[in-house]
């Protein structure tokens, strides 16, 4: 026992994890608490003559039609983007997970967009979506569809979804690894027992990879709810300075928050919006965690996560 004591001095462990510990407190916890304090004021970002206003920012938020509309829009956006990208990345992984010529090339092609910086992504897609000079309308024109103004309402919403789906290659790589982890014997055994392709997929493959599907869903939801740079960059205007230029249909919750901060200079109100949003995200995550118990299948021997 004494030997173990000297081998692992308590302080050494704490010293090694101190960068994260101190960093978490100073750069995550403190800003969040600070944000909460600001949300109780009418601070405008610069004026020293702010005062405490209690919970009135929160009270105002309850009756704020714009904020509610943005929240609903964000939830709809998330409800569309996350299933599509999880299903899409699984679909691509299934497509790639077979005997193919040049499989490495296809994998690279599907994977590549996910590492492209968001700014470059937005510039590319603005060129593709351009109403008069974009390739998309040119292709649609061949089949007789009139030019669509993709970057303004109401099409901008769909343009944004396409942009999001373009980068699903990261998920595909994860799904691919998950698929390759499913023992072939299980699928073969099911097939021998007379199960069709779809049944094997539904009853064997999906349960086996359900932890990965679940993880992708949770991170996808948390990611999609926060989307905010893409709508700002996908406008005909340029960049963040024109935060007001985001079309209504892509005016997501964080865009609204950003507007309250930097267009209306309502730092207190914006901070209240952030805190409410944090609780919304937390609640949705909890809901997903709870639902996972009914459909995520864990093998008994994978429990030792913290081995």
């Amino acid at each position: 026992m004494t030997r173990k004591w000297t081998r692992y001095p308590k302080r050494t462990f704490y010293a090694f994890i101190a960068p994260w510990g101190v960093g978490f407190v100073l750069l995550t916890a403190v800003p969040m608490v600070y944000g909460f304090l600001v949300s109780l004021t009418n601070f405008d970002g610069s004026s020293p003559r702010w005062r405490w206003v209690g919970l009135s920012n929160y009270a105002e938020l309850i009756g704020d039609g714009d904020a509610w509309a943005a929240l609903v829009r964000t939830l709809v956006f998330t409800a569309i983007v996350v299933p599509l990208s999880v299903a899409g990345s699984l679909g691509l992984a299934i497509l790639i997970n077979r005997r193919l010529r040049a499989v490495g090339l296809w994998r690279t092609i599907f994977f590549l967009p996910s590492v492209v910086p968001v700014v470059a992504m937005a510039i590319m897609w603005k060129l593709v979506f351009n109403k008069d000079s974009g390739i998309l309308n040119a292709i649609l024109g061949v089949v007789g569809i009139k030019p669509v103004a993709w970057l303004v309402d109401p099409a901008a919403f769909y343009a944004l979804i396409v942009l999001m789906l373009w980068a699903l290659g990261g998920g595909m790589v994860i799904m691919l690894a998950a698929l390759q982890g499913v023992p072939a014997e299980l699928e073969e055994a099911a097939a021998i027992d007379g199960a069709g392709k779809w049944t094997v997929f539904r009853q064997v493959t999906v349960p086996m990879i359900s932890p990965v599907l679940y993880f992708q869903m949770v991170t996808g939801v948390i990611g999609a709810l926060q989307v905010f740079v893409q709508p700002l960059l996908l406008t005909p205007a340029s960049g963040i300075a024109d935060v007001g230029a985001a079309p209504d249909s892509t005016h997501l919750y964080m865009v609204q928050v950003y507007q309250e901060f930097f267009l209306s200079n309502r730092f207190g109100y914006g901070s209240a919006m952030l805190w409410v949003f944090f609780l919304v995200i937390l609640g949705l995550t909890m809901l997903l965690v709870r639902s996972s118990r009914s459909w995520v299948y864990y093998e008994v021997d994978t429990e030792g996560g913290a081995r």
Binding site: W20, G45, I240, F261
Partner: protein, 297 residues
């Protein structure tokens, strides 16, 4: 794909089930290749269209009906992209910021991962759970309050925020390092302990050099992330000190304030080339990092 050190859950399975892991692969019908080709066009198309735009004259870009190929490649677009703003200056800012941040966050995350993998102290398990759950805290929610806070203490328009973020380690990278370090046999450190080495020395001289693949993964990922980050520099830096990501959206305008698409396309091409090069030479590290997140136990 073969060198995943972060033991996936399957590694625990009994040998009887483990045998051939390959899925049953049948010959692929031709129509499948057509599907793959169409999908590839969706993923590659925007790159090609960007590249074509970068070589067009403004008139070609705006012509109706559209001209797919530029008549004469307009290298002048690239010259304009480099000279109409201080391209190399901004690229230097991006490079500096990305390097500083990546080096710091890689080392700090390695230390944290080492602590969780090899050291013992009361409360370690609980603290590790906290670390894992902080991965789920939406970054964007802390960013605006951090901005307000930093503007109060004068850290706006400096590179200090990136230094601080780098020093603070990333829970995700720390997790990758932990998985790697946990798999290393104990004998390795035993010998050093007998020789009287302290933990810091064991970490720096034995474990850190061993973790080269994770070091590279962490560095590359943080580097491309910072290079690509838009909202950070847009919020925390003024236009003079900002990075290329912000600069290519803010410049390249004609006297009326309208973006010149062909020049911006040329600028964007030069902006993504470093990322694409890193990707092509280090694809397996990107894949490894994705897998690390997929097998989170």
């Amino acid at each position: 794909m073969t060198a995943i050190r972060t033991a996936p859950p399957q590694a625990d399975r009994k040998p009887a089930v483990q045998a051939p892991r390959r899925p049953t692969k049948k010959r692929t019908p031709a129509w499948m290749y057509i599907v793959i080709l169409v999908l590839s066009m969706f993923f590659v198309g925007p790159f090609v269209w960007l590249l074509l735009a970068a070589f067009k004259t403004p008139a070609e870009w705006a012509s109706l009906p559209i001209s797919i190929l530029p008549a004469h490649p307009q290298w002048q677009n690239f010259v304009d992209a480099l000279t109409s703003m201080n391209f190399f200056g901004y690229a230097g800012n991006s490079l500096f910021l990305s390097t500083i941040y990546s080096v710091l966050i890689t080392l700090s995350s390695a230390a944290v991962g080492f602590g969780f993998a090899r050291l013992k102290a009361p409360g370690k398990g609980a603290i590790f759970l906290v670390l894992l759950s902080t991965m789920m805290i939406p970054q964007i929610l802390t960013l605006l309050p951090t901005y307000v806070l930093f503007s109060q203490i004068g850290l706006i328009d400096t590179y200090w925020p990136w230094v601080l973020w780098g020093l603070a380690a990333s829970p995700y990278m720390a997790f990758l390092f932990r998985q790697f370090f946990a798999a290393i046999p104990r004998e390795l450190e035993d010998a050093a302990i007998v020789d009287g080495a302290g933990w810091l020395r064991i970490f720096a001289t034995i474990f850190l050099p061993l973790s080269r693949p994770v070091l590279i993964t962490s560095f590359i990922l943080s580097f491309t992330w910072t290079w690509g980050d838009y909202i950070g520099p847009a919020l925390f830096l003024n236009l003079d000190h900002t990075t290329l990501a912000v600069a290519i959206t803010a410049w390249y305008q004609d006297p009326h304030g309208n973006v010149i698409p062909t020049v911006q396309a040329a600028g964007a091409v030069m902006y993504v080339i470093p990322v694409l090069l890193i990707f092509f030479f280090a694809q397996r590290y990107f894949i490894r990092s994705n897998l690390g997140s997929g097998v989170k136990g």
